[in-house]
């Protein structure tokens, strides 16, 4: 930019002295404001003890919850026994009952299980012997190549026999069973490979291998120095292996917990109890179109819809009904408020009802209902009507009657008086004067303001819902409080965003049609 030199400035200053008069304070005003704001922020920083709060912030949890918005976590636990493993999925896992995911491969062999009725203490002799036994097992790679029973006995013989383990005393309480059991589990998470055998857990990532000796007696003992993505708070305690987005692994002395994370909303359409669950899209379509009824008395299409609507995990039906409640709250609350405020504003406007006392009283009434916050109205009406849209409608109605009353009466006090004079001069009665002299001027503005508030109340209705007025807000709050359903939260957020955008555009379109582009507000 071309700048004036000091002498040029002096010339201009001499020529127009008045322009430069009193400039000093104004020149420093922004700087002073910034300093004041800085000081204020420093005060607030200490007021809320921000540094302490920030130091205590749990960012790792934040990351996990954010990942939860767009992904699903499957949580198998691998329980470690003396010479075999048990893989268990939680009861309500998204992969269904007894899932066989391809990222988790099991290897079975026939082993002799020992159950000790009284003392569950594992004999240390068995543990050392077993590592040798595992050593031979490592030769066979995947679950598909499970050796037949006779082969199994073969390598059991080679790795000093497991059957000898129960030979250690206490025979009175122990019982032995020989059967097929899992002896080795391989879990592939992203780039890492986890191998679990009863006494040794191995993690391979980026070409590096970390081994952990595990056992109820010795805890978890790493054989190598741990990198920073593997943490162990104290020696022999449980070990966390952080694999970033792919999940994490917890190694405990008696079990290995796998948190396998994958993108997508599992079971979004059909839950695991649905006959359509787990089928590819073309099969689902074919099934819906086929005449053979899965459930008698109900067409397949109906059944599919019913299964989606009542999906146990995503609760589509409930979410949509609650969303509708929120929309209805905003719609009815705003509409009723504008209908009540409309006649009242005529009485409150000085130029239309020339009674100072009535004007003043009504305006203070508007101020009152407006200033008693929507929060308080919501609490009050939730108490009166119980949670649900009625409480929300009433809260919005009372708050916005005040707001609309104020806005409308201010608009009325600013109308052009010429049109009224014109209508009055031809002998119209007072009602007709308002009808033809004022309403055509203010109605578009009123409707426009109502539409604007309708749109913003859709947002408010969400939040007062969480206060107990029901609707999607309460549902959101409940899902968040359980701290595990963040994908459901995200689903509802997306629905709310869509609703707000649609309303935003509809009301924007209607408003611009009503009052022309020039006065488009909001």
């Amino acid at each position: 930019m071309i700048r004036l030199s000091a002498s040029d400035v002096a010339i201009v200053q001499n020529r127009y002295p008045l322009v430069f008069k009193g400039q000093r304070l104004r020149r420093f005003a922004p700087l002073l404001t910034l300093i004041a704001i800085g000081l204020y922020l420093a005060y607030v920083w200490s007021f809320f003890g921000m540094s302490e709060v920030l130091a205590r912030a749990k960012w790792d949890i934040a990351g996990a919850y954010l990942a939860d918005w767009i992904s699903y976590e499957s949580r198998p636990d691998i329980d470690l026994y003396d010479n075999y493993l048990e893989v268990g999925f939680p009861k309500f896992d998204a992969l269904g009952l007894d899932p066989q995911p391809d990222w988790l491969s099991k290897q079975t062999a026939s082993v002799t299980k020992t159950t000790i009725a009284a003392a569950p203490k594992v004999t240390s002799g068995g543990a050392t012997q077993n590592s040798g036994f595992l050593g031979t097992l490592a030769g066979t790679e995947n679950a598909a190549a499970t050796p037949p029973a006779d082969a199994a006995t073969g390598f059991m013989g080679s790795g000093s026999s497991v059957a000898t383990v129960p030979a250690v005393p206490e025979t009175a309480q122990t019982s032995t069973v020989t059967e097929e059991a899992v002896t080795r589990v391989v879990v592939r998470q992203g780039g890492s490979v986890l191998t679990v055998t009863p006494h040794l857990v191995t993690v391979e990532k980026d070409g590096l291998t970390y081994e952990f000796d595990v056992g109820a007696d010795k805890g978890v003992v790493p054989r190598q120095r741990l990198p920073d993505w593997i943490t162990q708070k104290a020696a022999n305690e449980k070990v966390y292996i952080w694999l970033g987005f792919d999940g994490r692994i917890e190694i405990k002395p008696a079990s290995v917990g796998v948190r396998y994370r994958f993108l997508g909303w599992e079971n979004f359409l059909f839950d695991v109890n649905s006959p359509f669950w787990g089928k590819p899209l073309d099969q689902v379509v074919a099934l819906i179109l086929s005449d053979e009824r899965i459930q008698p008395g109900m067409s397949n299409l109906r059944l599919a819809f019913d299964n989606i609507w009542n999906n146990a995990e995503w609760q589509h039906g409930d979410v949509w009904i609650k969303l509708l409640q929120t929309i209805v709250m905003a719609f009815m609350g705003t509409l009723l408020a504008s209908l009540v405020a409309f006649p009242l504003s005529f009485i409150a406007a000085r130029n239309i009802t020339p009674n100072r006392f009535v004007n003043w009283t009504l305006k203070r009434f508007f101020d009152f209902t407006r200033s008693v916050d929507m929060l308080i109205w919501a609490l009050f009406f939730t108490r009166a009507f119980g949670p649900g849209p009625l409480a929300g409608i009433s809260a919005i109605f009372f708050t916005d009657t005040g707001t609309f009353g104020k806005l409308f009466s201010e608009a009325l006090e600013n109308v052009d008086d010429k049109q009224r004079e014109g209508v009055r001069s031809v002998g119209a009665n007072p009602v007709l004067v308002q009808r033809y002299g004022i309403i055509p001027q203010v109605l578009p503005v009123f409707i426009s303001q109502t539409l604007y508030f309708w749109e913003s109340n859709t947002r408010s209705a969400t939040i007062i819902g969480a206060m107990g007025a029901g609707g999607i807000g309460l549902k959101l709050w409940e899902s968040m409080r359980t701290n595990s359903d963040w994908e459901n939260v995200f689903y509802m957020v997306i629905l709310i965003l869509i609703v707000v955008f649609v309303f935003d555009n509809v009301s924007g379109f209607l408003r611009s049609r009503l009052i022309g582009g020039a006065m488009r507000t909001g």
Partner: protein, 319 residues
Amino acid sequence: MLDSQHSASKADIVEANFQKLARSRRLYTWFALVALAIAVSWSAWFANDSNAGKFLDRLPYLFDFFIDLAPRDVMEPPRALFDVESPYFDGSFKYDYPEGRVYLIGDFYLPEYFYKMIETLNIAAVSTIFGYALGFVLSFLAAANMNSNRWLRFGVRRFLEILRAFPEIVIAGFFLVVFSLGAIPAMLAVAIHTVGALGKMFYEVVENADLKPDEGLRAVGANWVERVWFGMVPQVMPNFVSYGLLRFEINVRASTIIGAVGGGGIGESLRLSITRGHEAKTIAIIFLLFVTIIVVDQLSAYLRRKLVGEQAFLMERAA
């Protein structure tokens, strides 16, 4: 010149067309009214049907809330407000007003609810400041006359819309997990919404600004920052500050509500005292909240009138 007969027939055509237009207009109006009536009656039915208590059944209990609120004597709410000992003190939390005192210097204390109110006002002010600062920067990128890159403009505008529409309660709930209970989640939730809301209002102001100073600056070769700073900021600043004050007003209410769902401040105190059935405390808080909101509203209205003048002030209210 037209002869009289000719003009009469023309007048008939005009009249006929006018009647036709009026008829179709009336038809549309009726159509809209009927549609609205159906929507309203269905909504009313739905609201009543899905509510926990039915409207007519619950109507007699409407004022239960107030009956429950009746304190033991008239002086109880002021005592609760100023943390003075209550004669009914029986060791329970309900009548233990001095418990919440915040001692500043020696025996001089700030009553609990005043302290909480200051907390809420601070939450509102800080979130307004942050929202203002970010909205300020983003608004120039979102305005068509300051940013000719369509894609960037589109991106910034959608971003602002998402910030504006994203439910505050989710942001608060999420940050509650990170920071645990306290003011910061509420602050972030309100601030994020404020960025979106102010950003949108700001860019509309910028788009309506006079472009002559900008042209002048471009003529002398000013860069983008200089154009914004010398050409735009001086003329949009009064409107920006006015919108900022309006937002502060709204944010005081918003941070009270967010407080009630776990963000601390007076909102939380209110919810707790209502759920625990502490009448005197509830009345004290409602009174304090009411007075504060009126004071903040009047103060900001006064400042805004001075900043932007009566006419623009009314226009802003609508926005």
